[in-house]
């Protein structure tokens, strides 16, 4: 399996005052293979989100190196990183983080229109197809105030996928959803992964992590271990995966 994203000896220190600093990542190294579905778990303040934002180039690291698709993110200028986020990366956050003054369809279209890699007709067609696939086609013209949290998160997924990214980053993408919506969103992500998109998500929910292929456990800014669950195929073996993961997590003191 080709490695799409590789981080080596990542360190991240936040300086909060003149003499106060806090190290959030400590010599973190990891590799994500192409087409993998990986989750990062850990207690609050363990550095999960910081790791996600650092390896996606959204946040600067203090030391270490990150290779994405053969490119060194630490050496890239801000414009190059933006172009990378626009064309090769997709992001889903805990909140849908949609733009307030655009309707749902326009929120999806925005980054593709900015990237200008295809005709608007093609982009519109793909947006329509994505919305159909995620069951929100009828909401295209709705404002963000006219949709539920689960629906908004599906819009956020469509937006993340509109430019056919190589990798999808998720920061607690189901954190604000109820269990039904969580299940639906995770099924959608699993489907997307099956179609070849690499996914790395941060979660504190073991049921979510149980649907991913590999689980990385972090504590105190370091990787405390990882557990391979294998590809998730159907709900039939979900309970088994959840139990397996629970045992492993409890061995890590979680």
């Amino acid at each position: 399996m080709n490695v799409i994203l590789e981080a080596k000896q990542l360190n991240k220190v936040y300086t909060t005052g003149t003499n106060t600093s806090q190290q959030v990542l400590r010599d973190v190294s990891l590799a994500i293979g192409e087409g993998e579905f990986v989750s990062v778990m850990g207690p609050s303040g363990s550095g999960k989100s910081t790791l996600l934002y650092s390896i996606s180039g959204m946040d600067q690291i203090t030391s270490g190196s990150i290779q994405f698709d053969g490119q060194d993110l630490a050496a890239m200028r801000e414009e190059e990183l933006a172009a990378l986020r626009l064309t090769k990366m997709g992001f889903i956050f805990q909140q849908s983080n949609l733009l307030k003054n655009l309707n749902l369809l326009d929120n999806i279209l925005l980054s593709a229109y900015v990237a200008k890699r295809e005709s608007r007709k093609t982009i519109n067609g793909r947006a329509q197809a994505l919305m159909d696939r995620l069951g929100i086609a009828s909401l295209a013209d709705h404002d963000i105030t006219q949709a539920s949290g689960g629906q908004l998160q599906r819009v956020a997924i469509c937006r993340a996928l509109i430019n056919n990214p190589s990798i999808l980053f998720g920061d607690e993408p189901t954190g604000a959803l109820n269990s039904k919506a969580t299940g639906e969103v995770m099924d959608i992500l699993a489907n997307i992964n099956r179609n070849g998109t690499t996914i790395l998500l941060v979660t504190h929910d073991a049921k979510v992590a149980a649907k991913t292929e590999r689980v990385i456990f972090m504590t105190d800014g370091m990787i405390a271990g990882e557990h391979k669950l294998g590809k998730y195929d159907s709900d039939a073996d979900l309970k088994t995966r959840e139990r397996e993961l629970a045992v492993w997590l409890s061995s890590k003191g979680f």
Binding site: Q95, N97, N101, L105, D106, L110, V114, D143, R159
Partner: protein, 776 residues
Amino acid sequence: MKIRILRKDFSRNKIITATLFVFIMLAAMLVSGAAHIVVTLFGSIDSLFTRSHAPHYVQMHAGELNQADIDAFASSNELVKDHQTVSMLGINGAYIYLGDNELSEAGSIVENSFVMQNHAFDYLLDTDSSIVQMEDGEIGVPIYHMKQYDLELGDSVRIVKDDFSKEFTIAAFVRDVQMNPSIVTSKRFLVSDNDWTALRDHMGEIEYLIEFRLHDPDRVHEFEAMYQASGLPQKDTALTYSLYQLLNGITDGIAAAVIMLISLLLIAIAALCLRFTLTATIEEDYREIGVMKAIGISSRDIRSLYMVKYVLLAVLASLSGWLISRLLGHLFTQNIALYMGLAPASVWNHIVPALGALLVGSAVVLYCRFVLRRFGRISAVEALREGVLQTGERGRQAFRLSRSSLGNVNLFLGIKAVFSRFSMYGVLCFVFTLCAFLMIVPFNFLNTIQSPDFVSYMGAGRSDIRIDLQQGEEMEQRFNQIDGYLRQDADVTKYASFVTAAYQAENAEGTYENIKVELGDFSVFPLQYVNGTAPATEDEIALSTMNAEELGKSVGDTLTVLAGEQERTLTVTGVYQDVTNGGKTAKGLLPYAPDQILWYVVNLEVADGVSVPDKIEEYHAAFSAVKITDMDDYVSQTLGGLIDQLSLSVVLAYGLGIAISILITAMFFHMLIAKEGAQIAIMRSLGLTAADLRVQYITRAMLVLLIGVVLGTAAAVTLGQGLAGALIPGISSMRFIIHPLASFIVSPLLLVAAVTGTMLCVSMSMNKQKLTLTAQ
């Protein structure tokens, strides 16, 4: 609780609070200052009129008069309290040299007269507002000349004509209730009785001011009719007490109005800041407000918690503004103090400016109450559940990215943002409109009155040279000499001579009043008429707008005019604008007798390649006692004071317009970018660069600026045009002579450059913004 909220608010909005304080303080200071000007102006005019014992009715007269007839009229008229006839010795500017000037006053349009101090009333005062007497060899110079040439006491004034020469020492600068304002082109110099007689023996023409003081000044119009029906001398303009008041007040009145306008602008800016901070505060404290509502605190009580800060701010800022205006009071009234002297301060001098500042403070508090009425609409349940206030954005459905044909997404987002929340951008737009208006109106006004075409507002057609021949010995003979000379002059391509003669016209009340009618061929240098055309036959007449208004005539009406003993009914063929001769003139082709002649004017055009200044020099040598003016200078000389003031206003207006644009743009977008931090972070996380976002915000600023500039320019050429016209008596409808490059290109470009530069600086903050999004 109130103190806690206050402290929290001050600490999180330090810069905005300080800026708000400064704006409210400046607005209060200016309103207070303008009020101070107005009160002082009234007091000073009143004081000047009292100390100088201003005449209530003055009939100017050039020519013979019989004093006994005037005395008899005055003693038999019960309205008259006192009367006198003042002899003014009009001396051609060519013979007058002021201070160190090597050039005489020949080129000046000012008509300089020399007088002795009066004994009964209409006194000329010194700068201490005392009645001043000149010793032999001393001269009292009008304040207008002092300002014009920076003259000082002890400087000299020389009068030189042929072999006669007399040097005076300036012993005083005189305040003259009749001729103080720069808009009045006649000025009086004060000399001793002996010197006056010596001057009269060698030069000059006598013009009389037949002056009356009445028991009841309110009956001056009744008296005016009586005088005009009396057959007493009236070969020139008649002026009344109220006109003197108006003329004395106009310059500073305009200054007060401009200051008020500026303070209005500052209040608008303060309102914009207030709206922003209050909205942001409500959005930030949304959940807390919900909690307060949920536990039963009323909207009114919640509002009062937030109002404390703004009431405190308004009170302190207004108080500071008022105090500063008290300290700087002399700067506001410098011009009044110089020209009219300051009257002892009355209670109103303290009350009215304080009321002005109070008004500003109250406006701020009321506006806050208006904005905070939103508390009433906040639902406790929604606030607790949502935690975030959903701002009502319109136009979301009207502008859809999916249906947009605009290729650039950033431009689209910029435009959409403005139209979605136009109520928010409206205030910014209003400030830009005011800035554009502020910059363009004075410039266009200046350009208009500086343009040689402005001559059409002075009741004359466009020509190269104007020759004025005033009353004097053998006037007709001298005119004929000029006429003959010009006829022979090969350099003159065309010329037209006009004689202005005195007639009487029947007014709206059915009584007769004096009217000056210019007679001649009006087709040579055609004049632009507001309505109708020039008179073409002896039975036709055209009236200046002021005359048409006063006589109640419009085009097509008839006017009865007494020409000698003969009554003629004339048809009004046209109405034109004229700021000369108090704005009351007429044009016709009537017959006239020599004793009706007031003055002659000759307009001429020289061939291409002929130097106008050389020609003027040639005519000065050839003709005696005439005033020869290059028409390009005529307007600027006539309205010199106004042009100087306007030139300064233009510079100030441009500076102020640009400074305000920069300030308001910086403040508005600084606050907006901070407020939209989450939305900016979302876009950047999607891969939009800081440059993309900069384009979006600059598009917003440019769109609002564009709308503001278009509205401001449209208002400038419509409202501004009317406003400027109203400032000059005699102009009914001013049409700006627009400098297209300056008005439509340079001014907007200056604003665009200022706003773009500011936006680039302000949007730099987006580079430093964190992209990590954990919650919206």
